[in-house]
């Protein structure tokens, strides 16, 4: 890692580079370049990082404008409690409890898939016959 004095003493300035590979993904940090101006930084970044990959958008930011916290600051990143009440896995007993009512647990992925299609869907497919989850297993989509 460079320090403030290192990048301010040279002739050029350091820029951090962020690439957005897909329109629906966030920009991702890929590395840094040294350049004489913002315009040049964009060109150098394009040459360094995007010779092959297809990208949707490219950002360069002067390094000095990036405020940083690292894991050295333990308190800052501390998770004070076991926070499973904030996560889906804190409620994993729901599926068993629905089953007692002869009902299948619902997952958000299937809702996402469902609304892509027109029509009301079949309410009978929502009910679990017997005790299985057989009717329609929740499709697990990539990346969601």
């Amino acid at each position: 890692m460079t320090t403030d004095s290192e990048h301010s003493s040279g002739l050029y300035e350091a820029y951090e580079v962020f690439v957005q590979y897909d329109v629906l993904e966030p920009h991702q940090y890929v590395g840094s370049v040294l350049a004489s101006s913002t315009d040049m930084a964009l060109i150098v970044a394009r040459e360094n990082f995007l010779r092959r990959d297809k990208a949707h958008s490219l950002w360069v930011v002067p390094k000095q404008f990036i405020a940083v916290k690292t894991s050295e600051d333990v308190d800052f990143f501390a998770v004070e409690f076991d926070r499973d009440y904030r996560r889906v896995d804190g409620y994993s007993d729901n599926a068993r409890r629905w089953k007692a009512f002869k009902q299948r647990a619902m997952e958000i992925d299937e809702v996402v898939e469902d609304v892509k299609h027109a029509g009301s869907g079949n309410p009978e497919e929502q009910i679990t016959p017997g005790d299985g989850f057989a009717t329609e297993s929740a499709p697990t989509q990539k990346g969601r």
Partner: protein
Amino acid sequence: MVTSTEDMRVTQFMARIERGEKIEATDWMPDDYRMVLVKFIQMHGVSEIMGAYPEKEWVPKAPSLRRKLGIMSKVQDEIGHGQLLLRVAEELAAPLGATRESMIEDIYTGRIKFHNVFHMPAPSWADAGVIGWLVDGAAIISQAALLDTSYAPYARVLKRICAEESFHMQHGESIILSLAEGTPEQRQMLQDAVNRWWESLMFFFGPPEISESARVMLKYRIRERTNEELRQKFLTRYVPRIRSIGLTIPDEALSYDRNKEQWTYTQPDWQRFGEIVRKNSGPMSQARIALRKSAHTDQAWVREAMKRTADSVHVSVLGK
């Protein structure tokens, strides 16, 4: 000629939309695209914020520490969703002179509306559960249907929101399952809450007719499903689940027509709820708006003080 360049730009824009391309904040866009998006996203963001109020009322009264932590996390998420969405809205509305301050002020000057459900009271813990289960359930269906929206910054934020909503879904179910497994009194409390919320939930998706702004949104692929399609999907998913835990839905006309593959249901009182939303005249509208207003105005000095501190630090750093 000015009009022909304008026409050409609109044609090019429509071609982008039809190719399924996503639009960024910095791209050229027709005025009606911008206007309809600003209004829609601002209303979405403001509804997230006002939506935290009915549940926030239950944070001090939650029945156990774990429930308190759970509902507090959810309230935090909703306010967080409001912030992400207002960020998207204010960026789009910047050419129109809007700011974060004005977007919040719009709530108490009545310039922006929020969802009917958040004007209603939540008198019991079962209401907190039903909000988490069914109101979030309805909101999840609406938001999931927007994931493929043509406006990229909105789509990216929605993706994040939906990921967090999967916790809201489980959280709401967990509360209502506990009540459903409980004593006859607890089950009755749950039934009463469903009775209170059902009509509001039917209204939530909006009228079955396609309004002018809905037409613009369909044209520009801001959304692709109609109000009625989403209400139908909600019924398909939730009616069997509500019934499976032994609850009655307070609508005798409710039934699924196998031939038409459609639900028949009693129309909510469009007139009454429409007025509640337009005039902020629901049972809890004024009280919650007053709270939102005092949070905004009483703390104006804090925002200003923080800005002054930041400015003076900036000056002294640069001055060195």
